[in-house]
């Protein structure tokens, strides 16, 4: 064999190896836990039985919850898209001032736990609302809070997930070259027409990715319907699952597994719709020019800025203020004033409570690991999905949705079922180690990285890769030197989503932690459960501040990063 033949063979081995490695990895992260749940649903304890399946499918409650889930998820997504999409367009395409600061503020709510947001809004609309009292519209004491309703859930889902659409869309808008907008304007189109006919069609991939993420996030959200739905007995699938789990008794696990698979089926249907919408057009942007010049808002600039900052205050400052107020009082219901204000809660969680400190480190390490590993998996994975059109991986692409859509507690149960016993052949067990949580994080948040990165590929002109291939670069080198830098904005957006979500995550680790591997969520939950909400708020507030610090510190080395990689830096 000639030298060239040997290198050809090596290339083939590398590509095939990478492909199969990814297949196994994604199957292991997605199909394995799901498969274990299917097994648990249909053959609890190894005995084939369809009684749970029959029971779940025959129960009218199941279908009420399914219908409610669909309605709230779809309406919440619509709201999130309208809000996040508009904000992304305005911040990216117009000449508003302080857009970096604004972007920063609009991303932050992602890391405030949904229940904190829910509480802040409940207070805002409740009888004790300072704001409503101020404008003389406070409802009478004892009147029902309007947020305890389907509409309330939809509103908060929309607010909670608007940053998802914002982040993915902003990454996409970064790639929009100025010629395309200028060509539209030169053809006599008004800025709004250019937006409708040029910008939005080209932004379909990131928009769809954002919509898909919003949809599964809303579908799987437990915190918001738990707070707002339970009082009105408005059931969605995640709260129904939790209800079943609390019910105990025989067959609980298999019922819970089946209900979770139902969520999974809905999530996958969403992906099919997404696939269909993306298949019809070409979104590649082929020029390499600099970013678009912003539209001038003229006299509308100040009003628009005021509106934007009002939104930011509503979705960030309001819950954050709620956290701060609670963290500064000694106990619930004590009015906050100069005499009652105390830093004792902070002192306790920062200096006295050993697990809280450990939890910071654990959560940081695990979230960062998950974010980095998932990006490292998703860049080659999306390559095979989008460009090589590997059928196998396209199917797995759908499966990746499942662990994110179902309640975290169910994924944790799947992880226990899988990893309780020592791994076959390897002989050691992941159980009660940090690795079982890392596994669960990787499985759960894979889709948060995958969607933005896939959309990044869809906007990329493949000749950029082909040029490198012709220059003699093998797949791995191309991935590292050409493709990764080109999809970096999307990848960073994905990594950020993963990090922020995992850093606050509670439901997965609630079942998987063990002494020494506590996460922030576990500690906050422990405090809440013991009635120590003041400690919980202090810890959550510290978390927000630390994260802000981490995000700001990225600015230090931002000049070394390719342009457009950090969402909050032009």
């Amino acid at each position: 064999m000639s030298l060239a033949d040997a290198s050809t063979t090596r290339t083939r081995v590398v590509e095939t190896g990478l492909l199969w490695g990814l297949v196994f990895l994604v199957a292991g992260l997605s199909l394995l836990p799901i498969g274990r749940l299917v097994f648990e649903g249909l053959a609890p304890g190894g005995q084939l039985s369809t009684s749970s399946l029959g029971k779940v499918l025959a129960s009218p409650t199941t279908w009420t919850a399914t219908a409610n889930s669909l309605v709230t998820a779809i309406a919440g997504t619509v709201l999130a898209v309208l809000l996040g999409g508009t904000v992304a367009l305005v911040t990216s395409l117009t000449d508003i001032r302080a857009r970096n600061a604004f972007t920063f503020c609009f991303v932050l709510p992602l890391m405030i736990a949904p229940q904190v947001t829910a509480l802040a809004w409940l207070q805002l609309f409740g009888p004790s609302s300072t704001l409503l009292k101020l404008i003389g519209m406070a409802p009478a004491l004892g009147s029902r809070n309007p947020l305890y309703s389907r509409e309330g859930i939809i509103l908060l889902l929309g607010l909670q997930y608007a940053p998802l659409v914002f982040l993915t869309l902003r990454a996409g808008l970064r790639a929009l070259p100025k010629e395309l907008i200028e060509a539209g304007l030169a053809a006599g189109a008004s800025p709004l027409t250019v937006l409708r006919t040029v910008v939005l069609p080209l932004m379909t991939p990131p928009l769809i990715a954002g919509i898909a993420l919003c949809f599964v996030s809303s579908l799987g959200n437990f915190g918001i319907p738990a707070f707002l739905g339970i009082p009105g007995n408005f059931l969605v699938l995640p709260t129904l699952i939790y209800q079943r789990l609390a019910g105990l008794g025989p067959g609980v696990l298999s019922e819970v597994a089946i209900l979770s698979l139902l969520i999974g089926v809905i999530a996958m249907a969403g992906i099919l719709v997404q696939d269909f919408m993306l298949r019809r057009r070409d979104f590649r942007i082929t020029t390499t020019s600099s970013a678009a010049r912003p539209f001038e808002l003229g006299r509308w600039r100040t009003p628009v800025e005021i509106l934007l900052w009002t939104v930011a205050i509503l979705i960030l400052a309001l819950p954050f203020l709620g956290l701060i107020t609670t963290s500064l009082i000694p106990a619930f219901g004590v009015p906050l004033n100069a005499r009652t204000a105390t830093l004792a809660n902070y002192a306790y969680v920062l200096f006295e409570h050993a697990a809280a400190k450990r939890a910071f480190v654990n959560s940081f390490v695990m979230s960062a690991t998950a974010a980095i590993v998932i990006v490292l998996i998703c860049v080659p994975l999306a390559y095979f999905i989008v460009w090589k059109k590997s059928r196998l991986l396209r199917l797995l692409n759908m499966a990746a949705e499942l662990p994110y859509a179902m309640p975290g507690v169910v994924l944790a149960i799947a992880a226990i079922l899988l990893f309780l016993k020592p791994l076959p052949l390897l002989g050691f067990s992941l159980y009660n180690t940090i690795w079982i949580i890392v596994f669960a994080y990787l499985a759960r948040f894979l889709v948060l990285g995958l969607r933005p990165i896939v959309s990044g590929y869809l906007q990329l002109d493949r000749t950029l890769e082909e040029a490198a291939q012709i220059a003699g670069a093998g797949l791995v080198r191309r991935l590292v030197t050409i493709i990764f830098p080109l999809v970096a904005p999307a990848a960073v957006a994905g990594a950020l989503l993963i990090f922020l979500t995992a850093f606050n995550e509670l439901t997965v680790s609630a079942l998987l932690w063990t002494s020494g591997t506590e996460t922030l969520g576990v500690v906050v939950f422990s405090f809440e459960q013991g009635g120590d909400s003041t400690y919980a708020s202090a810890l959550a507030a510290v978390t927000v501040v630390v994260t802000i610090g981490l995000m700001l510190s990225t600015l230090l080395f931002a000049s070394k990063l390719p342009q457009g990689v950090l969402p909050w830096r032009d």
Binding site: T11, R12, A471, G472, P485
Partner: protein, 359 residues
């Protein structure tokens, strides 16, 4: 040895035949243009040569190295060829020097050798001083030159150019055309140039391969292609040829024969093996007509005149067959206006050897 040999290449996209038994032999150091309208299969052919797609039949070799066949496929990164893409495909995250140096880095060439070769390549395309620029800040022509430099710096034995001038304005095209020619002369690299613009192809190529619907219709020098198109499609495509039905009247003699066309007798160029009788198609060019007195030659009515600078393009219809449209060049001042009847004489023409292929 960089002789590119494409042997009965076949490629299907579902039920669609994108390449239908295409064979092409490119000599070492030759400049070949592949010419055709969009969708004719020329880009598919380029992607086969580059190795981006797999062949369904036939084979492609460079020198004595088999690159593609239905069983074997050398990936693009091991083909050691260069491409200039239509979109240039410059990497926006690298500056000009980094773009150009990439292939050298991949090949393991290190500084100072690498820096020297990058500088030389940039010098060659006239971009010395632009090394630190980002591609986004360059003009179209400059990007084109960077793409060329990037492609040539590794000294590939075969360079593929995919409509490299399509995105440039007219002035730039002319100067880039010259540049490509100079390049080819200087480097002696084998070049395959994909284009839909016959003027470009004619100006640059040693030989032109005309493609249509996945087939190679003719491979010949520009002059031969113009003068002796092998079939009606090529005849119609190249140089605005007019294809007319004719009747053969004599055996070929010294490369010419007599035919009857539009009711008159004329002498045409033809192949030596042309049959002496029967129906045929002939190809006429605008310059093959001469305007004569109204009562001589073929009577025709003038439809339209359009000024071309120094001469007019005149569209006429023969009175005897008014559905046929002919065009010819008339000197300034115009000898006749729209509606006038003129006489036409046919001074030259070519009997198309494969009339059955008429589209």
């Amino acid at each position: 040895m960089a002789r590119l040999k494409i042997d009965r290449a076949r490629k299907y996209f579902g039920s669609y035949t994108a390449l239908d038994d295409v064979s092409l032999d490119v000599e070492d150091g030759e400049f070949i243009a592949v010419l055709g309208a969009s969708g004719c299969g020329k880009t598919t052919l380029l992607r086969q040569i580059a190795g981006f797609d797999k062949l369904d039949g036939g084979q492609i070799t460079i020198g004595d190295r088999l690159l593609s066949s239905s069983e074997r496929h050398v990936p693009p990164e091991h083909r050691k060829i260069g491409i200039v893409f239509q979109s240039y495909a410059l990497w926006p995250h690298m500056n000009v020097a980094e773009n150009v140096a990439y292939g050298l880095t991949v090949a393991g060439v290190r500084d100072p050798e690498r820096a020297r070769r990058v500088a030389a390549a940039l010098d060659l395309v006239g971009l010395t001083g632009f090394a630190e620029r980002r591609p986004g800040l360059l003009s179209g022509g400059q990007r084109q030159r960077v793409a060329l430099a990037r492609c040539l710096v590794t000294e590939p034995s075969l360079v593929l150019l995919d409509e490299p001038l399509a995105n440039l304005d007219v002035h730039l095209r002319a100067s880039m055309e010259e540049e490509f020619s100079r390049f080819h002369e200087r480097t002696g690299t084998t070049m395959v140039y994909i284009t839909h613009d016959q003027a470009e192809a004619m100006a640059l190529a040693d030989r032109i391969a005309v493609m249509d619907r996945g087939r190679l219709l003719q491979l010949a020098t520009p002059s031969l292609l113009y003068r002796e198109p092998a079939n009606a499609t090529v005849a119609g495509f190249i140089g605005d040829g007019m294809i007319l039905p004719a009747r053969l009247l004599s055996k070929p003699e010294a490369g010419r024969c007599k035919v009857e066309v539009l009711g008159v007798e004329a002498v045409m160029r033809c192949r030596p093996d042309q049959p002496a009788a029967g129906h045929a198609q002939i190809c006429l060019r605008a310059r093959d007509f001469a305007i004569v007195q109204e009562n001589e030659g073929i009577a025709a009515r003038v439809d339209r005149l359009s000024y071309q600078g120094g001469f007019f393009r005149m569209e006429v219809r023969p009175v005897a067959s008014s559905e046929t449209v002919l065009h010819l060049d008339a000197p300034e001042p115009a000898p006749a206006g729209p509606g006038d009847i003129i006489g036409l004489r046919i001074s030259d023409g070519w009997v198309i050897p494969e009339p059955d292929r008429a589209a």
